[in-house]
Each structure stands twice: as C-alpha cells, then as structure tokens.
Symmetry: C2
Subunit: 419 residues, 2 copies
C-alpha cells in the first residue's frame, strides 16, 4: 500500500470506516440489559457475541477457534509456516451500560483490516492472529485481563474459585458454557512465537478530542497506586465545640483532596479521590471519621513514586497539625508498562505519511496490552473518543472517519513491520 | 445567704453536690437500652423518670403535677398568692446512648436548691416552678422543644400527627400513656405570670474545661443557618481524564469545606460540614456528584449573616472556576436568642461574691430557654463538662464540686432577684 492509499479521508470513510461502524452495531445487538449495552463474562449475550465473531472470522478466511477461556482467535496465515505471530487484539466483554467501542473497536478494526487483506491477497512475513479476548473489565468475577492473561501465560488459577454476585464460581460458569477450566493453563503462547502485540482502542478520555486529532500513539500504560484512607478525628457538637478545639476528620480530608489535586496537576500525572464519605454523618455533628480513596497514575513510575511520597508526607503533616489519625491501606501498586519504541515509531511513520501530526499520549486506563509486557513488544493506538471523551457510558462514540483512519494506520503499519 | 455561704468548695461539695450526683444516678437507672442511657419521649423509661421526679418534688413539699404533654412541674409557693413565677427548668428526655447530665442537671440542681430552701424555710417574692420538660432532643418524633413549647404557648398541633419509626403517631403515643392531646394547647403560661426563666445546663463543649472554670454565663443561644449542598460536576475515568479537563465535585467540596473552616474561625462563629458523601463513589471514577451539609452558628445574627454571605459568594466563585453546579437548599435560618442582661449580671454578681472570675460564653446548642424568648427574661448558666467537653455520650461527666458550685450560684442568684 502506498502513501497515497492511506490518505486521510475525513468524509468518505469508505475503506474500513463503514465496516467498523457496521460491525460495532452488529455486535451491540446482544446485551444482558434491554436498554444499554451490557455483556459480561459467559452471559448469554457474551456467548452470542463470541459465536458471531467466530463466524465473521471464518467468513474472512481466518483459521478460527474459541479457546477454553472464551477468547475468539482467527489466524491470517503467512505462507511461511514457521513465521512468528503478530497479535491484533482487544476485548469483547463490556462494563454495565457500556458503549459499543470500548474493547470491540480493536477487534473489529483488526477484522476489517484482515478481511480487506484477504480480499486483496496481501501477504505478510508473519501470521496475524486477530484475538477477541473474553474478559477484560472484571465486572462479573472481579478478574480483569482474564482472556489476555491466559494467552500471555499469566492466568491465575485462583480466579476459577471466585464467585459472581449470584454465588456461581468461575469454574461452574465455564463448565455450564461447555468450557474446560483445566485447559486454560495450556492456552499460553510461547514467547518465541510472538513477534508483536498491537492493540487499537478508543481513548476513553478527552485528549484527542480536545487536540482535534483522530489518533494518538500510546507511550505507556500508566502505573497505578491506590490507597484506602481512613481519618480518625474527634466527633463533637457542631454548635458547642469552638473551631480551635476541633479535630475534624472531614476538614483533614478536604486538605488531602486539594493536596492530591495540586500535586498531581504536574505533567504526566493524574490523581483522584473517588470515594469520599463521613460514615453516619449528621448536619450538627463535627465529623469524627472520614473515609476516602486515593488513586495516583503515571506512565512514568518515578513520577508516580515521587508524587505518592509527597502526598504521604503532606498527609503526615496534616495529621500532626490537626490532631487526627490517618490510616493508609495500599490496595494497588502497579508499575507502568511502556510501549515499544519501535512500534511507536512504526505508527508515527505511518501517521506522518498521511500528513497529519503525530501525537503521543499515555494511557491512564489499563488495557490487555499490559499482559504482554516482557513477552513481546507492545504497541497501542488510541482513537478519538467523541462527546468530549465520555467513556463507560452509552454516550461513548466515535466517527466512521476516525475509525477508517485508525484502521488505515494499522494496515499501513502492518505493511511496514519487519520481524 | 451571705457571700461566705457560697464560697467555692472544691473538695467538699457537701451542700448540693452529693445530692445532685445522687439524683442524676438515680434517674439514670431507667433506660430503653440495657447498656448506656436512652430515654425518649413516652417510652416506659421516660414515664418512670417522670413518676420518680414527681415523687421527689412532692417529697420536697412542692405542689406537683404531670401535665398533658408529660412535663413534671413542682411549685415552691410564695406566701404572696398573686406573685409571679420564676421557672427553673430543663428536660428529662435524652438522646440515644446519652450521658446522665444533659438536661437533667438543670432539673436536679433546681430540685436540690428548692429542697434545701424548703428545709430552711426560705421565702421568695415569687413562686418557683421547677419544671422537668418531657421532650427537647426530638429523637422519637423529630419535635425538639416539645415540653417547653407547650408551656411557652408555642406548641405546634402539627406535631400530634407525626409518627415515630414504628409508625405510631404522637397522638396515639400520648393516649396510650394516658395523656389527652387536646389538653396540650391549654398548658401555656400567661406572659404576665412569668417573672424569669432560668436554666442550668451542662456546657456540652470544652470551653469551661479548657478555661478551668466550673461555670460560665450564657450570653446568647446561637442562631443557626443550615444548608443541604449538592455539587454536580462531571464524572470521568480516574486514569484517562487529565487534571485540567476535570470538573470534580469532590474537589469543589474540599474547597468549600476549607472555606467554611477559615471563615468561621473568626470570633463568635462556628461552621461545620457534618455530612459529606460522593454517592456511589468508586476509586477509579472522578466524582460527578458530591453532597454535603453546612451548619453555621453564632450568638450574633449579624456575624452569622455576614459569614453565610461570604461563604455563599465563595461557593459561587468555586462553581464558576471549576465548572460545577452547586445547589443550595436552606434547611434552617434560626435567629440568635440573647440572654437577659439583667440575669447575666445577677449570675455575675453571685459568681463575683465567690471570688472566682466571671466567664461569659455563647451557647452553640439550642436549649429549652429559646422557647421563652419574648415571653420573659431568660438566663442560662453552663456547668463545666468533663472529659474535655464530651457530650451526647456515656462519657459525658461533671464533678460533684462543680455541680455544688453551680447550685450555690443558682440559689444565691434567686436570693438576690427582684420582681
């Protein structure tokens, strides 16, 4: 494919765009909820989507199977039987009341590209495995990255004993759907067989929307520190305890919240207090206790660690100054996963050939790609999220033109990849 | 009684102190809960305490009755049948899991003083009505100042239709206890019959404790403004929405909380955010909504109004700057009730005669006294609250020496009052 072949077509979106939108709408017909889109692990809707994807892959000429954890995998084979494999993947499960593109965009884009490649008889020096991972959101069993962990050899057998809200274990749910839980451990790909892992994903944020760009190259998937924070102050009567005598847990929380915002407003960081509550709080009672969560992310671990250290030091100061006790429970300390410089450059070269500016950004959300860290080089391309970046919502949207552009970049990048 | 007769006796507490502690312990035996003290309106414990109080008053020689709303009233009669009446009062109901002194201290102190007066054959140019109000805390029916409102002619007949947590209406509860709800309206005292209203009450705060003083003279019962505040921001993914794009409702709340603290740290004010919650908050979601309460009090209405105006202006600025919507629902706007300068001075003269310093403070909590505003002159004396000022708790405490001192001041003040 020449440079001219991947020129940006804002209005036409004719090569891949219409197909991607059509496939996204098609898959969205199966939902656990009558209104909105909900497709959680091993639900009836989930099995229907897997079967639909398998049919589509077969129709496109891919060597297709559904594996023991529910992943749908279709191979576009290289003539060289001993070739390595490039994985193009994302997940087909959704959160509750989701949009149509989170996860699935990466699958249907890959499918559209491979359908077209098959029609054109394109050849690659590698197999291409289009993978639709069965579970990434962790809604039903609290097990994120389930499908990709199995392929990456990181499946945790402990997951099989977890139970959903109705008390059904994952093992039971797998067997009910005709899967063999014992076979999951054998799904892992050998490191030596994988050439690259590429994932195209909707951004889930406003950065590309605000930058007026259809795609961005992911530099890293952010590391994430999470704490549960409990502040113990001293309850008192809101009328009778003068301000200087108070040890108000909510005021201490307020200082922490502003400290997090200020410290995480530096480049490359985000910080959030998402849970916040004075348990049993009453209008006329000075809060004796306040509970909150702390979530700090960065694509650069050193930035994250420095921010966490500063915020913890500030919390210590707040506790001392206000005479309150602050307890911290670290819930998560996940390292950042950098994207391959080679794959970032390959995406960049492809974008440059269209004449559009290259934009790099980090991913604050986790993605299946993180499972392939240390197993192969990973590359991620973000697609502009409409409505100002609304995610995990029926209002999540993309344009056909953006979908088309992203798929063209993916196709062009594949054409230039060496193994 | 001479000045020498009311000398402070830190250790002996022999005239009134022991009797007050003994009566407080005696009344605390009746509780709705096996551990702790709970005595809410018209419960079995509540009726038992009323009967016990009536017996004590009769034994002291008072002309005693229990009125239609459950108040226990004992009159120490003046020889002058046409004399006006000085009311010495407080409430005998409690909050859930209460201390022994909140409310009851004012009743048993008055009783102890009048018992002693009767023994000594003291005469006064006024009748003294010792009143034990049946309900002030509003726990069962949400009707604060119930007993005192009936005496003050401010009883709201709407109260009778209110239902408790079990669905029993106040009317039904009254009839079950043998009371006639229709008779409550007739309990009001004529303004012309009342000379003064005096209430002795535990401070419920740390001011006297920190000042190392047994009693303080109340200058005013604070006015109180209350708002329910709702902040509507924009929910977002804690990883994918960069800090500059956020409209975080919890961060706006944090700014409001600190603004309230700062503005209400000026003399004569208290301000509290007692309720604080991000509904459905999650660690990985930027808060789209935050709910909080605002409670601002001052003994001086102009101070309170100025503080409320400043805080509301700051909230407007916060809303504009952060792109969030702040909704305010005013729940209360109660004016301050000043205590009579004449009665403050009478208390002060009595305290001065002991050689102890006179300390004046405002009451941040409401008291039965407010019901008598505009009906007569009101005077309130606060007694030091132990344990650093703990209130509405089984840890609430006073010393016998402080109780004795306060009762001596009450007795001496009565001896100097002119009508």
């Amino acid at each position: 494919m020449t440079a001219a072949g991947i020129e940006r077509k804002q209005s036409s979106a004719d090569l891949y765009g219409r197909r991607i939108m059509e496939l996204s709408d098609y898959l969205a017909q199966w939902s656990e909820t009558p209104s909105g889109l909900t497709c959680t692990y091993l639900s009836q809707a989930h099995r229907a989507v897997a079967n639909a994807l398998a049919s589509l892959m077969k129709k496109a000429g891919l060597e297709t199977h559904i594996d023991a954890v529910g992943n749908v995998i279709g191979r576009y084979k290289s003539k060289n039987a001993l070739a390595k494999t490039v994985i193009l993947a994302s997940h087909y499960d959704t959160v509750t009341n989701a949009g149509k593109y989170d996860g699935r965009l990466g699958i249907v884009s890959a499918l559209a590209v491979v359908e077209q490649a098959a029609r054109a008889g394109r050849e690659f020096p590698f197999h291409i495995d289009v993978m639709a991972f069965s579970e990434e959101e962790g809604v039903r069993f609290g097990t994120s990255y389930l499908g990709s962990s199995a392929i990456a050899g990181r499946f945790d057998p402990e997951f099989l004993g977890r139970r959903d809200a109705k008390g059904v274990s994952m093992s039971e749910a797998l067997r009910e759907s005709g899967f063999d839980p014992d076979a999951i451990a054998g799904l892992a790909y050998a490191k030596s067989d994988i050439a690259y892992y590429l994932e195209l994903h909707i951004e889930q944020g406003p950065v590309l929307f605000e930058s007026d760009l259809p795609v961005g190259i992911v530099t890293a998937i952010a590391g994430n520190t999470r704490f549960a924070v409990t502040i113990e102050g001293e309850a008192g009567h809101a009328g009778t305890v003068p301000m200087p005598y108070r040890h108000d847990a909510a005021v201490a929380a307020a200082e922490i919240i502003l400290c997090v915002e200020q410290r995480c407003s530096r480049t490359g960081l985000v910080g959030t207090v998402g849970r916040l509550n004075v348990p049993g709080g009453a209008t006329n009672v000075v809060p004796g206790r306040c509970e909150l969560s702390l979530d700090i992310r960065s694509g650069t671990d050193s930035l994250r660690h420095a921010a966490v250290a500063d915020i913890l030091a500030d919390m210590k100061g707040i506790a001392q100054r206000r005479g309150v006790k602050i307890e911290l429970d670290e819930l998560l300390n996940a390292v950042a996963v950098p994207c391959s410089a080679k794959l970032q450059d390959a995406f960049a070269a492809s974008i440059e050939r269209t004449g559009l500016p290259v934009y790099r950004l980090q991913s604050g959300a986790g993605h299946d790609a993180v499972m392939f860290d240390k197993l192969t080089e990973i590359g991620m391309l973000f697609v502009r999220c409409g409505n100002g970046g609304v995610s995990h919502s029926p209002l999540e949207t993309i344009t056909a033109a953006d979908a088309d552009f992203a798929a063209r970049i993916l196709s062009d990048t594949l054409g230039h990849l060496t193994v």
